[in-house]
């Protein structure tokens, strides 16, 4: 990467002459080098998926190092980057949600929760004594009052946007390209709302994207963590059942193989001519 900080990168309360805060950019770098996290807003719910690299053969993979957490019944987050930083964000989100419920007797609306998390993350980018969070947070949430589900992402700089499809981590660029091909934007989908994909399809597609991005030679072996918040789950944030993930992964691997065979054939045809 080009720009050296040269003295303007020592503190997150210092701007560089060209208007950048290097510490925040470096925090974003920590996320860019971490496992891919994806979120998809489907017609009937939201799906989250995270690639969890298995650092160590001795790791009890199934239950430890979780990257998807439930914030409240109706909200869940996926974190990537520094997982320990992400945990702090999750704890804060839980506090915000409980606090809101105790004050107003209602579940915290998705946008409000996203704004609270983003305000918290942003706070750490303007204190000399604190360092920015090196984690991005994908928030899947449902509002029982308006009956709308939504997906938000909060980045280390503290910006939060609402997304149809969101990606963070190592494979975010190719992931975004793949997600754009899916029918998740009601304005772009030909048949409107009704032709958008549902969560079952979303689970398969995310599994496919994560598996196709993973380079078995370069990257460590990984576990795929997935969760959904949908009509079928009673609008509660739950882990996708293991057998559903397994069949999605099977489908994904088949699709990837077939796509490779096709492109091999096309290469062969090209060579013949």
């Amino acid at each position: 990467m080009a720009s050296s900080g040269s003295g303007y990168d020592l503190s997150s309360s210092t701007f560089s002459p060209d208007g950048r805060i290097f510490q925040v950019e470096y925090a974003a770098k920590a996320v860019e080098n971490a496992g891919t996290a994806l979120g998809l807003r489907c017609r009937d719910g939201v799906v989250l998926a995270v690639e969890k690299p298995l650092q160590n053969k001795m790791l009890v993979a199934a239950t430890t190092g979780r990257r998807i957490h439930t914030v409240d019944e109706h909200s869940g987050v996926a974190i990537t980057g520094f997982i320990s930083d992400g945990r702090q964000i999750v704890n804060r989100a839980r506090d915000e949600a409980i606090n809101y419920d105790e004050t107003y007797g209602t579940k915290i609306p998705p946008k409000t929760l996203a704004n609270r998390i983003s305000a918290y993350v942003h706070y750490f980018t303007l204190h000399g004594a604190l360092r920015p969070f090196g984690a991005s947070t994908l928030l899947a949430s449902y509002d029982p009052a308006t009956r709308q589900h939504s997906l938000h992402m909060v980045e280390p700089s503290g910006v939060a946007y609402e997304y149809f499809g969101a990606a963070a981590g190592r494979g975010r660029q190719p992931a975004r390209t793949e997600m754009e091909k899916l029918a998740i934007n009601p304005k772009q989908a030909d048949g409107g709302e009704a032709s958008m994909i549902d969560v079952a399809e979303g689970v398969r597609q995310l599994a496919k994207i994560i598996h196709s991005l993973h380079d078995s030679a370069k990257d460590k072996p990984f576990e795929l963590e997935m969760s959904w918040l949908c009509e079928a789950s009673g609008w509660k944030h739950k882990g996708v059942p293991k057998d559903v993930i397994a069949s999605a992964v099977e489908w994904a691997k088949k699709e990837i193989e077939e796509a490779e065979e096709e492109s091999d054939e096309e290469d062969d045809e090209g060579m013949e001519e």
């Binding site: 007797g105 209602t106 409000t112 009052a145």
Partner: protein, 202 residues
């Protein structure tokens, strides 16, 4: 001694209070508005000493306005407002209680009958009700509301019940409360249906 009562109907709520401001043997004013407008689509009838009445209703309504300013114009539902209000009563109880009993009513689009009514007392209890009354008035009006209230009434019918209650109070309640103010909260917001004495008349 204040009369505060309310009736919900299909499409909104009606809240009515007397307009007397008095202490001991002295009547300060007869045109007090005891129904505080909390937000665009909610109002709260308050009973108790005038100091707490004004302090509490302004505290709640300004905090609700602050929420909207801080959260990008997002409005709180009547249920949320009532819970917030109850929370403040409960917090203050063991510090410096607000000696107010309230009836909070509001309109929400996504609530089945549109209108919802909540009755709260100074100890921090809160219940969602179809109709309710605070103070001595309850002795006279609750039986009338028990009898006359029906599911699916319209505004006219609800106001009729309120007027029936007022007639009863005028006839049987020892204290002479000659002026009443009646406000309605529906999809168009909060509006005064009847004020026997103009609150803005100084």
């Amino acid at each position: 001694m204040d009369t505060v009562f309310g009736v919900s109907y299909k499409g909104g709520v009606v809240i009515a209070t007397d307009q007397v401001n008095a202490r001991s043997i002295l009547m300060y004013q007869q045109n007090l508005d005891k129904i505080a407008e909390l937000s665009s689509h909610s109002a709260m009838g308050v009973s108790g000493p005038n100091c707490d009445l004004v302090n509490f209703s302004e505290y709640i309504s300004k905090n609700l306005a602050l929420y909207e300013l801080s959260n990008d114009g997002m409005k709180l539902s009547t249920h949320a407002q009532a819970n917030f209000c109850r929370g403040e009563l409960a917090k203050a109880l063991r510090k410096g209680p607000f000696q107010v009993n309230v009836i909070l009513g509001g309109y929400d689009e996504n609530v089945p009958n549109g209108g919802s009514l909540y009755i709260m007392d100074y100890l921090g209890s809160c219940h969602k009700v179809n109709y309710g009354a605070q103070g001595y008035a309850s002795n006279f009006t609750l039986s009338i509301m028990d009898r006359d209230w029906e599911e699916g009434m319209n505004e006219e019918q609800a106001v009729k019940i309120v007027e029936h209650c007022i007639r009863e109070l005028n006839m049987r309640f020892l204290l002479n409360q000659s002026n009443f103010i009646i406000k309605v909260v529906d999809k168009d917001g909060v509006r005064t249906v009847k004020a026997d004495s103009d609150p803005s008349d100084n």
